[in-house]
Symmetry: none
Subunit: 219 residues, 2 copies
């Protein structure tokens, strides 16, 4: 996978900036379980996920962890390069959850180009906004809780009622059942899918792990 | 206060961009208690706080609130203009906590300039990173700190902000700030009162021992 594929704005970059990014990129492989980045200790660079799966999380002083979000193929991790933005003071750690192929763009190279390139800066803004939205969503889940339980309970009940683990339901229909906006349903289903609890296809939701869904519903 | 004072990058902007920003800026006044922005309903524009105090918070489907951060004189609020960044999907509400003088830069004007101006885009990145860091800090507070520390920290910060050791706050208001039920607040305040840390009266909390409260907050 070429690094241009990670940047929708690639064609808007100056040729010398494209060349500088490509020349600085370093390919690395990480075995499952490897810690790629630990809090604010280092500022390796932007990590482009060519394959595999990365977990982003924070660690408490006592060693407790909470998952913030996951990165999959074609995702970009900004927090392994948090020094590119002065005001970004977050302690995010990264671990490979599967064997992963990563392309690293060193922080200093990226920062220099971002500072002069409006397209790259705007794109960086979008990446950060997207992670910010994930974390805000998490805050809401932690604070308001119940929706994951309600959705899990609904899916388990439907599955029992239908006598099938594959449910023909649109997100809108589910939303109508639970009195929640479609977007809220879509987002939680995506989270469930990332966690391996369900698999999604057009117009259907399949319960991959009904046991764990039932546990969530009961928790 | 001139809008140039809000933008450390003002001198790096093109003259026509500076003129466009200045020409589009609208001065507004908000009385204490006014809701300036409600979730993702509107996209008014960037809000520059000339004076006063703005609270940014999220509201649960059931009406529960949690304070995300506050904005003071010279701060810029991005979330009243979240449409300027496509991936920014956060439901932040804003209320004036004091009579406030705000300069609004309409979202479409700002977005257009940001898209072509690397300095403005990089500066926008810094604003967002700063709020992101605040919210990440909040996540950590919620996840790792026990409630006594959070409440102590809140009381100390309020006292510093108000310049007074007597705070006009109901337990319900405190609960809304901390995302906690009123009963939990009442119980912990009673505990604090028993410990000689605060004294309680109808609608007020007085810090009797700010020093020890600060120590609890830091512990």
């Amino acid at each position: 996978m070429d690094i241009s594929q990670f940047f929708p704005v690639w064609d808007k970059l100056e040729e010398n900036d494209r060349n500088a990014l490509a020349a600085a990129a370093i390919r690395r492989s990480f075995k499952k379980g490897t810690v790629l980045h630990r809090g604010s200790e280092d500022c390796t660079g932007l990590m482009l996920v060519r394959s595999g799966q990365i977990r982003a999380y924070t660690v408490s002083p006592e060693g407790k962890e909470i998952t913030l979000y996951r990165l999959f193929e074609r995702d970009i991790c900004l927090f392994s390069a948090s020094c590119i933005i002065n005001s970004l003071q977050v302690d995010v750690s990264l671990t490979a959850e599967k064997d992963s192929e990563i392309t690293v763009i060193p922080a200093d190279v990226y920062k220099k180009i971002m500072q002069r390139s409006a397209p790259l800066s705007n794109f960086t803004n979008e990446i950060m906004a997207s992670r910010f939205s994930d974390v805000m969503w998490l805050v809401e889940q932690i604070m308001w809780k119940s929706f994951d339980k309600r959705l899990a309970a609904f899916l388990v009940e439907e599955s029992v009622m239908e006598g099938s683990e594959t449910l023909k339901l649109t997100h809108e229909t589910i939303g109508n059942h639970l009195g929640s906006p479609r977007e809220v349903v879509t987002r939680m289903l995506k989270y469930f899918a990332d966690e391996g609890l369900v698999s999604l296809a057009r117009g259907t939701v399949t319960l991959s792990d009904p046991q764990r869904l039932a546990e969530i519903a009961e928790s």
